[in-house]
């Protein structure tokens, strides 16, 4: 609306300012330059005091106090930002509730599908996002942006406004505007130059260049393509193969395990070990150490001792305890009685499953197992227990066997088994009296 020309004739007598003014268009307004921000503020105060409303100040940096001098009311933007932020909080929490608790509740390790602490970080982010959107786009809206063209752009002095010029422009559309009197007012306020600014007679030059409009439309349309494809895919069926954007990455000229191959007689890409060969470091010839088996003339049997490579000492027991507490306690429990975290949780869901009690004297299956068989059980599993050979190196498996033996002894120990000088701390604390 601001570029609607004012009826004031462009050729009004004795135009103030320089001779470079082009007269071919209609008068848009008057632009005055001031030397310092302080003078700009004073001029703004005078112009506002004279009753002008359609004017603005232009400066390279924010000038403190200019809003007050121009009589501009405080912006309502903070309110918009607050509403935006609040919407973000509520919307973010609602989104999580809808996704996690309502539309698609999913049991992950028994965690609740709706829990406020877990939702706060997302709520925090959406709050900031919406507050920033409200701030950014609210500022656009309040300032009627984006504005790619302004009549003052035709003025040479205006080019300095981002550099060193302090300008005050009054629009000819203001009802108090009079090209002579207004220019005089600005000059009286200390302007170092006052110029009239005319609209370009060529209407096309006053509008946004066509190519910018075309670019915005085209890029917006382009950005919608992925959404359109997704929307189509949601509502239709297709027997076409996937779109491969990088086919040479998706289909590489190489064989993967268990793919067919014509080159070899068995038709497989896999090349197994050749009979009679052993991979480096995989000989594992020591049957006692690697399998817990001892050879004897009357037949192979589980070893009852420990392999000769291992030195049985305190450090090995501690290592065994450490490994036991990592790998075994989830089912067998810290005391080896078979009620670790997993059976405990089974019990909470109404089930009744328990891991083997390793230390029970009334059902001494594990107590009676030879060391070699315990080792074999750890390595290869037993009933529902899987083998741990892949996770635990053999020496550590033996350390666990050693610790299980220690556990079996300590869990069935009497006070007499403890050295006298260590007994003091082992007394059961008396029950607190209430």
């Amino acid at each position: 609306m601001s570029d609607e020309p004012n009826p004031t004739p462009a050729s009004s007598a004795s135009d103030p300012g320089d001779t470079a003014v082009r007269r071919e268009g209609r008068l848009y307004g008057v632009l005055a330059e001031y030397d310092t921000p302080g003078e700009l503020i004073e001029a703004a105060r005078k112009v506002a005091g004279a009753g002008f409303t359609r004017f603005d100040c232009f400066s390279p940096f924010p000038v403190h106090g200019i809003d007050d001098a121009m009589g501009i009311k405080r912006t309502a933007l903070p309110v918009a930002i607050f509403i935006g932020g609040f919407t973000g909080t509520v919307g973010g929490l609602l989104l999580q509730w809808w996704c996690n608790a309502y539309n698609w509740p999913w049991n992950i390790s028994g965690k609740p599908s709706w829990s406020i602490p877990a939702n706060i970080p997302i709520g925090f982010e959406t709050t900031i996002l919406m507050a920033v959107f409200a701030s950014f786009f609210g500022m656009w809206l309040a300032n009627r942006l984006p504005q790619v063209w302004h009549p003052f752009f035709r003025n040479e002095r205006f080019n300095h406004v981002t550099d060193d010029a302090f300008l005050l422009g009054i629009e000819a559309g203001d009802r108090r505007f009079d090209s002579q009197a207004t220019a005089q007012l600005l000059r009286d306020a200390g302007a170092i130059s006052v110029e009239l600014v005319y609209l370009d007679p060529d209407r096309a030059k006053r509008q946004m260049p066509k190519w910018i409009t075309a670019f915005i439309v085209a890029s917006t349309a382009f950005a919608l393509i992925p959404f359109a494809i997704a929307a189509k895919a949601r509502t239709s069926h297709s027997s076409e193969p996937h779109i491969h954007i990088f086919p040479d990455m998706d289909f590489q000229p190489k064989y993967k395990s268990d793919q067919p191959m014509d080159l070899f007689g068995d038709g497989r890409a896999n090349r197994g070990e050749i009979t009679g060969t052993v991979a480096r470091g995989s000989l594992n010839a020591d049957e006692t150490f690697y399998k817990g088996i001892e050879h004897a003339p009357e037949g192979d049997h589980w070893t009852t001792g420990f392999p000769r490579q291992l030195e049985i000492n305190d450090a090995l027991v501690r290592r065994g305890r450490n490994r036991f507490e990592i790998y075994c306690t989830p089912c067998h429990g810290y005391d080896g009685r078979g009620m670790g975290a997993v059976p405990t949780r089974v019990a909470t869901t109404g089930g009744a499953w328990q891991a083997r009690n390793l230390v029970d004297v009334s059902n001494p299956v594990a107590i009676n197992m030879p060391n070699g068989q315990l080792f074999n059980t750890i390595s290869n599993g037993y009933n529902t227990m899987m083998g741990y050979a892949a996770q635990i190196p053999p020496a550590d498996r033996w350390a666990i066997v050693l610790y299980v033996r220690a556990l079996q002894r300590s869990q069935n120990a009497a006070l007499d088994d403890i050295p006298p000088d260590h007994r003091s701390g082992m007394q059961m604390p008396e029950a607190p009296t209430r």
Partner: protein, 440 residues
């Protein structure tokens, strides 16, 4: 006249005169009365343990105010700040309370050296004995291995040594900035501003480190098995809320005596309020960061700290913190006007100071019961894991308040000692900008 700069108003009373002496005397009286009552009560009812716990809370309170205010001085120099020049001298006087604060802290530090071990249970002789036993592998059932490894750091002698180092560093840094600033009053040499700016960078680093470590030593070691790496940051955030609130109140108090009436205006209070608002949120942000990781990680040695605060009676204190220290001031300080209308800012400053104290109380006091519910011998070191949470009471004591008030008196004395000469850095090159300061 340019509006970017203003010169000091000709009628401005910027000389402290006898203000500092009066304030110091008032502080001494408050300290003497309340600490005297506290000692008598502690002696009469044999409540020394409560006294020392309350003392740690109260001491952390006055210490943290100096910490918060000192940060403003450092930041102001570091970023060539302008708005705060008008209140910087008052801030300098407040940070010059550091030596008094650290001397006052000896009340709980020295007994530690003398073998008092009810305050910090890592100081218990059994803890030291357990290190020896742990080395021989017999004590692990009773002592969390994480604590065994900390006992070298948490030993009374080393603790005392660090306390002295913190005190000396804070005092030296605060004195440096206060002295240079006063020198500028005499000479007006702008180079002094440069040297303060150059010093503020390294000082900020030292400040960050010792603030963190002081909070680890004095507050976090109350629960020595527990740990949180963001603890120091969280303490600092809370400190800055308290620091800015106290700065606002002190400046306003000085204005009430007819001084600085032209130099400090709602623009400055607005900025103080903005910092209060920012740190209110920052405190909540770090407190939640600390909570959420431990809540999510769900490791017993971490969650036990929260278990004692989020269940039983303490949960009401936690809820009060959530709404009182964060939600309510956050919503109301958000507006421009609550910070610019001085009575409203005063209300929130007092409010936040009370809740800042409650924050420290909440950090320290749940540890109080650990020893009393424990038994003799090794059991003492099982600490928080003994007893039911429902038996764990807030156990508010009047000593908590009297010791706190007494220590506020100590802080006022410390501030009053340095409230002399000019109350405004009259020849600071940025003073004109500060006096003309306007918030957009």
């Amino acid at each position: 006249m340019s509006v970017l700069q203003k010169s000091l108003h000709p009628d401005e009373k910027y000389k402290a005169g006898r203000l500092g002496e009066s304030l110091g005397r008032i502080g001494l009286v408050i300290a003497a009365v309340f600490l005297g009552v506290s000692v008598v009560v502690a002696f009469h009812y044999d409540q020394w343990k409560r006294f020392f716990y309350a003392y740690v809370v109260g001491w952390s309170f006055i210490f943290s105010i100096c910490v918060g205010v000192f940060w403003l001085i450092l930041l102001h120099h570091l970023v060539r700040g302008r708005w705060a020049t008008a209140v910087r001298r008052v801030a300098e006087a407040m940070t010059m309370a550091f030596p008094v604060v650290f001397v006052a802290g000896l009340v709980f530090v020295l007994p530690l050296l003398a073998g008092y071990h009810d305050l910090y249970y890592w100081a218990h002789p059994d803890a030291a004995a357990c290190v020896v036993k742990a080395a021989s592998g017999t004590c692990q059932e009773y002592l969390n291995p994480t604590l065994v490894h900390k006992l070298g750091w948490l030993s009374p002698g080393f603790f005392f040594g660090r306390y002295v180092v913190y005190g000396v560093l804070y005092t030296a840094m605060a004195a440096y900035f206060a002295r240079k600033s006063r020198q500028q009053d005499e000479s007006g040499d702008p180079k002094l501003s440069d040297s303060m700016r150059i010093a503020s960078g390294p000082a900020m680093i030292v400040y960050a480190l010792i603030t963190c470590f002081t909070s680890f030593d004095v507050l976090m070691s109350m629960a020595p098995k527990w740990y949180s790496t963001i603890y120091g940051v969280n303490f600092w955030g809370s400190s800055c809320v308290g620091g800015f609130a106290a700065l606002g109140l002190v400046v306003l108090g000085i204005q009430r005596t007819g001084r600085l009436t032209h130099s400090v205006n709602p623009e400055h209070y607005h900025d103080i309020g903005k910092w209060m608002f920012a740190f209110t949120f920052f405190w909540a942000y770090t407190a939640f960061s600390q909570f959420m990781l431990q809540w999510y990680g769900n490791l017993p040695e971490e969650t036990v700290w929260y278990k004692y605060r989020l269940f039983g009676e303490w949960q009401w204190v936690s809820i009060a913190m959530l709404f009182g220290f964060w939600a309510f001031p956050f919503v109301f300080l958000m507006s421009r006007w609550t910070k610019r209308i001085v009575p409203s800012l005063v209300f929130f400053a007092v409010w936040q100071l009370v809740f800042h104290w409650l924050d420290l109380y909440w950090n320290v006091m749940p540890s109080y019961d650990w020893l009393s519910s424990a038994q003799e011998g090794h059991q003492v070191l099982t600490g928080p894991l003994t007893g039911s949470i429902l038996d764990h009471h807030v156990g508010f004591s009047l000593l908590d308040l009297t010791v706190w008030f007494g220590l506020i008196g100590v802080l006022l004395f410390g501030i009053g000692r340095n409230l002399r000469g000019n109350l405004i850095p009259i020849k600071d090159p940025t003073l004109g900008l500060s006096l003309a300061h306007e918030n957009l």
